[in-house]
Every structure is written in C-alpha cells, then in structure tokens.
Amino acid sequence: MTQQTQQAPVPPPAQVSEGARGRGRPFSRVWGAAAYPATFLALVVVVWFAVTTTGLVQPYIIPSPVDTWKAFSDNPEYLWTHTLVTTGETVAGFVIASVVGVLVAVFMVYSPALEKTFYPLILFAQVIPKIAIAPLFVVWLGFGASPKILVAVLMAFFPVVISGISGLRSVDPELLELTSTMGASPFKTFLKVRLPAALPELLSGLKVAATLAVTGAVVGEFVGANSGLGYVILQANGNIDTAMLFAALIIMSALGVLLFAIIQVAEMLLIPWHASRRNRG
C-alpha cells in the first residue's frame, strides 16, 4: 500500500465519490424517503373512504375524507389563522427550549456541581404531567400566548438537555488531551471539538423536541385559549363537528412533521460525515 502510493500517487476519486454519494442531493433524498409513507398514507385514505362511504361507521364518529376536505375548503381563513397561532407558539417554545437546553447542557458538562444540583430538578420537572400544571400557568400568565409557549418549552426542553449532555460527553478523550498539548483555550476547544462532536446526538434530541413542542402548545391551548388549533379542536368537539376536528388534527401532525423535516435537512447539511447519515442509501 505504502509503496503503491509512493510510486504512483493515484488520486482516489472512485473511493471518495463512493463515500460522497451518501452526502449528495439532500432534497431529492427527502423526496425518496417520503415516497414510502406517502404510498401507505394513500392506502389508509382508501380504506378510510371505503369504511365511511359504505355506512359502516357513522359520520359523527369518523367523518368521510370528503367531509374532512370540506372542513378545509369551507373554512380556509379560520383554519389558517388558528394554525398560525399554534405555529408561532410551537416555534417560540422550540427555539427557547433549544437555546436554554443547549446552554444548560454545556454548563452541566463543564460543572459537575451544577449537574448534581440541577439534574434531579430537571428530571422532576420532566415527570410532572404537563397537562396537570398547564392550568397553573394560565393562572400565572393569563390567556395569551405565554402560558402555551411555556408548556411547549417545558416539553421540548428535556430531550435537548439529555441529548446535549450525552453529545458533549461523546468526545474522544484522547482528542481532548491532544488539544491540551496544543495550548488552545477551553472556548476554542469547545467550539472546534466538543460542539461539532455533540451535533449528531444534539440533532436527534432536537427532532424529538420539535414534535413535543407541538404537543406542548396544543396542551396549553386546551387549558384556556380563544385561538389556536387546540381551541379549534375544543370548539369542534363541542359542536360534534368531527370533520373539523379531523382537519385540525391533520394540520397539527403536518406541523410536527414539517418541523421534524426541517431539522432532518439541517442534519444532512451539518453532519454529512456522521455514520447515521452515511449509511443510508
């Protein structure tokens, strides 16, 4: 091997492009990944259609796809307004949870005392059912967006902290020893070694957090709101308008999937080198 590269320094285009294949064209790969669930979803709609149009199930229990579509097409403005409200709360909750979560993870990794003090408290906050404390937030913060954002933050925060801590700890200890012989500042080591090494795990945590943030916002809306998809669901439930209820549910899922997909794309761009991204077709 040595002599070979010595005498004829053959550039390794085949080898490199082989490895690079997995990194190319992220967007077409998203589309490829969507094809399978889309096919399955189409099948579900067909069954749904069959079950509801044959009168097997009453429309007030499961509305037909046509009725659900009508709920969309008859109330576009109504649904859009409330979707925007929930989206705003979700994104705000997610962003706050991510920033605070990463900072907390960093402090805990660098200070064992902080970790010992706050880890049990964070765990405690996590295991409290959010639906149970949401009314308290309404008492504290009123009926505006802030109690919903707070519930979203509380739900999304935990996976960010956990993945952040384990990501920051996943650094090769020899790499850290090496940087200590380079005389670099701890901040530089953090920026150039620890943070990039933590990204794969951190991004996994963010994906979980994104989906939880949607749940958090809707839970907040259930408790006391006059806008948002949670409010739409409560209204529709009161009117036994299952078609509208289904419409709101579909939008909520779409919102969670969209956030998830955004982070997925970020993952492709940020960590193409990681095994979890390389080993995919």
Binding site: T5, V16, E177, L178, A184, W273
Partner: protein, 279 residues
C-alpha cells in the same frame, strides 16, 4: 524534503528558541501511583532516563508496565507522584505545547478532511496560515498522503488515518514526537510499511522520537536505543543501544545478526516478566 534546521519558522511555530545544551528529555526519579477503587497501583517506580536530541528511543514492555504512562508523563498529561521531567531544560508542569503526540487510535476530527485535520494543530495554536498550509503540504507529500487531502476520515484506511495523525503531530515542528503504540491497531503488512515510512522520515529529519510499542521488531528496527520495561511496579529492566546501520532496509535489517541478537534478548526479557508477573 525538509530538514530540521535553523531556518525553521521562528514566527511562533514550535518552541522556536535556540537548542539548549544537554539532553532533550531528562527524567529523574519519577514515581507515579494511581488510586483505584480498592488499591494503589504503582504505575512507575524510580525511572531515570535521558533522551538526547535527535535520538529515536523505543520503549518496549508487556501490558501494564507503565510505558504509556511514562510517555504521558513526558507530555505533561499525567502528573508524577515523585521526581520530575525536564523537556529542553524546562520542567514539565502540565500539558506541554512543544511535543507532538500520536495515539494508538488516530483520533481525527470526523467532520474534517485529511488536510484540515492536519491543519487543526495550526488552528488551535494560532500559527500563521500561509506557513501552516505550506508545512501541511510538505508533510502530506512526505507521508504519502498526496491525493487524499480532501478525503474524510471515514474514507481512509487505518494506515492512512494514522498518517494524517502523524502529520498533525509534526505540523508545529515539535521538539519531541511522542508515539503511543501508533501502529498497534493496524494489520501486520500495513504496520511494516508504516515502520519503513517512519524510519525514513526520522532519517530525513533527525527529530527526537519516543515510541512506545509492544512489538519487539518495531522497537529494534526503528530505534537508535531501546528500553525494556517490566510491570508492577513499572520500571526499566534493561537498555540496548542498537548499533545498526543508519539507513535500514527492512528485510536486510531483520536478517542482521545484531538485530536478531537484541530482539532475542528483548523477547527473553518480556517472556520472563510476563510469566512471573501475570495476574
């Protein structure tokens, strides 16, 4: 090829200061003890050793004889319990910047290509960019990495990864290159090739190298002096000056009677320590 001469970059690269008189590394009365959960481990005991500038010293010994610990002590990565080390006349009191370290695993940054992994050393030290790039290119050529500059670590074989690691350790022109079982994870053939390469690089540059290994052939083929250590407590058992030709062809060196005599003797020593101290 570059030579380690007075015209080396003075602009902050390496230690830069003029070569002092006396040994490169002076180890005197070093003891290291570790406290584990249920006992005290005496990793090193009464180590006295000097390493001259331009010397290639190999340290051989069975697992647990403290040879890696000794290397870490020189780099300032492990503190001594007694005694001390001076490097270029200055006592080692913490991680030293004037060494280059190569671990058994290449320990590369997965998200950087080969060239950027080598330049990592320069970035962390804040070395001048133009100088570092030129130096990296020289090292890439010297270690046979040409054509692989843009390859990511996962695209490189174990041997190639270790070459990148070696380039990174040499980038700042360290006074001492410390290698801890650098080829231990490689297959036999790649390992031989890397030995030949390393010997060639050492012959060309005349740098000071301390190599820890448990391969007897590696220890003798590469070094100008070999030290054999024994375990519990880690101590020096015997020392060999390896009086072989300066330029060493691999096959002819292995057949050299002097090579075989020293290797045989080291094997005997390792065999006896292994049987009497196995736990």
């Amino acid at each position: 090829m570059f030579a380690r001469t007075a015209d080396r970059a003075q602009d902050g690269a390496g230690a830069g200061s003029p070569q002092p008189q006396g040994p490169m590394v002076d180890i005197h009365g070093v003891d290291v003890t570790f406290q584990t959960k249920d006992r005290t481990v005496h990793a090193l005991s009464g180590i006295d050793m000097t390493i001259e500038p331009g010397e290639f010293l190999s340290i051989a010994g069975p697992s647990g004889c403290g040879k890696s610990t000794l290397l870490r002590v020189i780099a300032g990565l492990t503190a001594t319990s007694a005694g001390g080390v001076t490097l270029r006349g200055a006592p080692v009191e913490g991680p030293r910047r004037d060494v280059g370290f190569v671990f058994q695993r290449a320990a590369l940054l997965d998200w950087r290509n080969a060239r950027d992994n080598i330049l990592f050393q320069a970035e962390m030290r804040g070395l001048p960019k133009a100088w570092s790039r030129k130096r990296a290119d020289e090292l890439i050529e010297m270690t046979g990495l040409t054509g692989f500059e843009k390859a990511m670590p996962f695209e490189l074989s174990g041997g190639m990864q270790q070459r990148v690691s070696l380039c990174r350790a040499l980038l700042h022109e360290p006074d001492v290159l410390l290698m801890d079982e650098p080829f231990g994870a490689l297959d036999a053939l790649t390992r031989e090739n890397m030995n030949v390469e390393l010997r060639r690089i050492w012959e060309a540059t005349g740098m000071t190298v301390v190599l820890v290994t448990h391969s007897v052939a590696e220890a003798v083929y590469l070094a100008s002096r070999a030290v054999v250590m024994g375990p519990r407590p880690g101590r020096v058992i015997e020392e060999f000056v390896i009086d072989l030709p300066g330029h060493r062809e691999y096959e002819t060196t292995l057949e050299n009677p002097e090579f075989q005599r020293i290797s045989g003797r080291i094997r005997e020593l390792l065999g006896s320590t292994a049987t009497t101290t196995a736990d």
